[in-house]
């Protein structure tokens, strides 16, 4: 799917790198926007981030909001949270 047209209140999935251990559960739950890097850590799929976006704050399309909330709840290390810009 194509990434969200970002608006001021697009939800952002924030990754706390000091907590994440890269097992990749979130990338399974949010495969539309997340891939895993060569070490297993979640990384935005190509096209999800725009120039100037913070790679630690991944825009979440409204249609993926529920899946993102699930990823936040299921992350075993509480490394994820939903914020807005």
């Amino acid at each position: 799917m194509s990434p969200a047209e970002p608006t001021r209140d697009t939800a952002l999935l924030h990754i706390d790198w000091t907590r994440c251990d890269g097992r990749g559960l979130c990338a399974e739950l949010l495969a539309e926007i997340l891939d895993r890097d060569e070490w297993g850590y979640p990384i935005a799929r190509p096209g999800v981030l725009r120039d100037g976006d913070d790679p630690s704050d991944i825009p979440v399309h409204p249609s993926l909001r529920a899946a993102a909330e699930q990823a936040v709840a299921m992350c075993p290390l509480a490394a994820l949270r939903l914020t807005t810009r």
Partner: protein, 421 residues
Amino acid sequence: MTIVETPVAASVTVTRLLAAGPHAGLAAHLAAFGAFDPTRVGPALVRELERSGLTGRGGAGFPAWRKQAATVDAAGRTRRPVLIANGAQGEPASSKDSVLLRNAPQLVLDGVLAAAAAIGAHRVYLYAGADELAAVATAIDERTAAGAAGAKDAARITLVEAADTFVSGEASAVVGAIERGTPLPRDHAKRLSTSGLNGRPTLLHNVETLAQVGLIARFGADWFRSVGTPEDPGTRLVTISGDVPATRVLEVAGGSRLGDVLQQAGCDLGATQAVLVGGYHGAWVGAGEMDARLSREGLAPFGASPGAGILVALSSRRCGLAATAQIVDYLAGQSAGQCGPCMFGLPAMAATWDDIANGAADATRRARLTRLAEAVDGRGACAHPDGTVRLSRSALRVFRADLEQHAHGRCHHARRAEARA
């Protein structure tokens, strides 16, 4: 390492911060700058700072007034903010904060106390290395003994010794060091101005920024702007090291020409192939680009910024790829090991740079560097990966010709150096 601290008279140098002379005590400080009570500074300071155009001297270059205004906004009426003066010198190529704290501690105190008064700080901390703290402690004692203005508030400043690691001076690491004794950066979802030390709104300034605040509080914004350029007003301290006769700290006018600053430090421009601007998290700027101004705007086209005022000269006899490989290796070793992409990505970059420096600069390795840069940039709790990527990318640009040579297993710098030996 010998550090020459005496300012020399010339066009680019301006003596302001160090005007009270070497190891200035209270008497020399007052003789140079005049009497001043920093505790009587009010909230109006923020407007004066805005007019002055002072930007942070610790690296990020953020407008000083904006940080202050954000802290005051977040504090509102109920939660009084804290002020942290950051003098940590984790960056090996920078000596200016040490020179400032050891030579002009009274001026730093003026700025700290003025900023604290302006925001109504609840607590004030000064974070620096042991030698620098000793100089500050002496300055505080001297104020107390003389019953000088601000002596009581100065005596209440908590002095905290900084760790000796590269990332220990990063803003959230400073908060961690003061809070828990662990100088590790933390997740940056919340701004320090909103929630910093123990959850309080926190204003963190570099000590040079605060010394400049001390001068602006005394002499005003117009005076501050009377040197430098409209885009980069005032002065900044610069540490020049590398292939120069001696490491020097100079105070230069904002927006000075890069080449002039280097020459002022005794650097032979004709024998210099590049200069690392902004420190180990900075960017290489080539010999042909010495007309660039040492300011945010002037350096932006090269992906560089003044940072903490660091210049490292690289002689034409040395190999820029080898120099870069060495720094990337050092930076990889300084990853705090908290964030996966930094912990794994930086050593991978270092290994690739090592191969390149040793003559294996094939297309595969260069592509690998490009991929690794994308995989680590912006993906850590602090800017350590981003800074490492900046350095790596700038080296690929400035040392392009050398890369071609190395790709064919040749390093003409090494050859030239051998021929001379």
